[in-house]
Amino acid sequence: MHGYRGKILRINLSDKTWKLEKLDHTEALKYIGGRGFGSKIMFDEVDPNIDAFDPANKVIIATGPMTGTPTPAGGRYMVVTKSPLTGTIASSNSGGYWGAEMKFAGYDMIILEGKSEKPVSIFIEDDKIEFRDAGHLWGKTTIETTNELMKEAPEKAKVLCIGPAGENLSKIAAVMNDLNRAAGRSGVGAVVGSKNLKAIVIKGSSKPTVADPDALKDVVKRGRAQIKENGVTGAGLPTYGTNVLVNIINEQGVFPTRNFQETYFDKAEEVSGETMSEQFLLKRESCFACPIACGRYTKADDIETGGPEYESVWAFSAACGVSDMKSAIKANFWANEMGLDTISAGVTVATAMELYEKGIIKDDELDGLGLKFGDGDSMVEWVKKLGRRDGELASKMAEGSYRLADAYGHPDLSMTVKKQELPAYDPRGIKGQGLQYATSNRGGCHVRGYLISPEILGLPEKLDRLEIKGKPGWVKIFQDLTAFIDSCGMCLFTSFALNADDYAEMFSAVTGEKHTAEDILKAGDRIWNLERIWNLKAGIDPSQDKLPKRLMEEPIPSGPSKGHLPRLPEMLPLYYQERGWDENGIPTPEKLKELGVPS
């Protein structure tokens, strides 16, 4: 077995026991690893209808066959569980170095079961597994926790942990690793918190083998050259980071502003990638084996922090009407410290701001803080309070935007799909991305299929963002390829420069199992259908393949994309057809049989 380590570590937190299981190689190849294989374990072992915080829910930390190999940006892992935010299957992807270290320790997957009676940390050094009391760490932030744990950890060990938000069961809590990398979305940190697990410290000493080292060397060399020559991965991302998108998206009038009430932010330049590079950037950061190094490390007053990335800058600037980069950097820092998903935290504060603007949230609920659009200082304070559930309103915010707005009787003011906050591209003016948001298996999300690539950046070819012709097919291919990439353990950003053939070649060289582009797209399709079936069983029916009412009914009010609506009703039936589903959006028995997906 190459690429894979062949071992699953199953940990029972209730009785503090663990056992090793052999990886089922056939199943692993079918579902690749990471997101795909993690979802299959969920399918086999967890009732989709349980409450996400039920100890019977499991947290699966899964690497892919490429994680920890020399493939470009092959250091990713995923956290797969039932989401407390959406009720769907959740799988959140993270970079940094933790995932590769887990592979070096000898594991493809760690399955966390049950619930510890008291706060606990797990220390793993190769085959040595130890449970340690984490009472003294409960309540501590990400940096405090990591520093504290490193005092008792082997040198160069890597730390994964939750912050106060995860402990407090905030439905928008993240799992953090390497201080500032996050498996951010869908509240996976809260499920870890519900199990009273504070952290996993890991150290490994052996590398996964690869089937054909010579072939891998060749294809990696070629892939790295493609990444270097590509304008986006070789120049744009390394120089400016993802935040260079601020101006690109704003210039086209699709930069959601003040909780999606507008789509053009007149202060965008102040929070742009260009401004960040000139005034706030200390250094670039990279993840394991990554030639792109899109990560930023910035400083605002006395705060230094990893990031913020584009989505986080947006969530803590335009979304909240805030025009100063310092506040965005500080809010990002505190979101990391609290262990919060930056997109969901920013959009939730933005929702609260709109509720306040409309007089629905009252002054006497604010604990002496402000809550007006544009008030950066208060935004930072709300992020801190939210993570700690400090006060009644902050506690409502910790439930995420949908439940916050719903608590005030105005769920339509929440800019969410399947209760997960939408990211930084207005779907009314980017039609394919809109369809992707609506059909994403984990709710509002841009990285289940990054249609921005063809519709805005022109990669691999330029599509008219306002047209719908051909888009359902594009959405399917992007979703399927992404499902493969997430599962194999490489970073999605490599796909600006690499295509399905490149991934197939790398996968074949690593695992020794000959795969073509067609095979890997089929694996992606299989994973997509499996997730869909799981969601259907969890009661997330196709009527939820939709966008928020505001975005469906109110045309973009001004700016370059003025007047546009998503045209979802025209595209959705065609998308179902592309997927081989029936007209109600249910995978047909024939389709499932063809893919070998259980029903």
Partner: protein, 74 residues
């Protein structure tokens, strides 16, 4: 006619962020980039008034041309 040119990322180096150009009527974005000594393959995204633009499209008074080099995603 007067047009506004907005430059981004590396294209700002030595040129600035925003320029107002006085041009003969009927000129197109190709001429704008020629005047600014920007090569065609340095342009990844060309917008005229926020919409996808073409290098040979006729500009009219008051148009805004935005030009981006190959940049990132996120």
């Amino acid at each position: 006619m007067q047009i506004k040119v907005r430059l981004f990322a590396t294209l700002r180096e030595g040129r600035g962020k925003e320029l107002i150009m006085d041009l003969e009527p009927g000129l197109n974005p190709q001429l704008v980039i020629d005047l600014l000594k920007i090569k065609r393959d340095e342009v990844a995204i060309l917008l005229v008034n926020g919409m996808d633009g073409k290098f040979d499209q006729q500009l009219i008074d008051g148009d805004t041309v935005s030009i981006f080099p190959p940049v990132g995603g996120g």
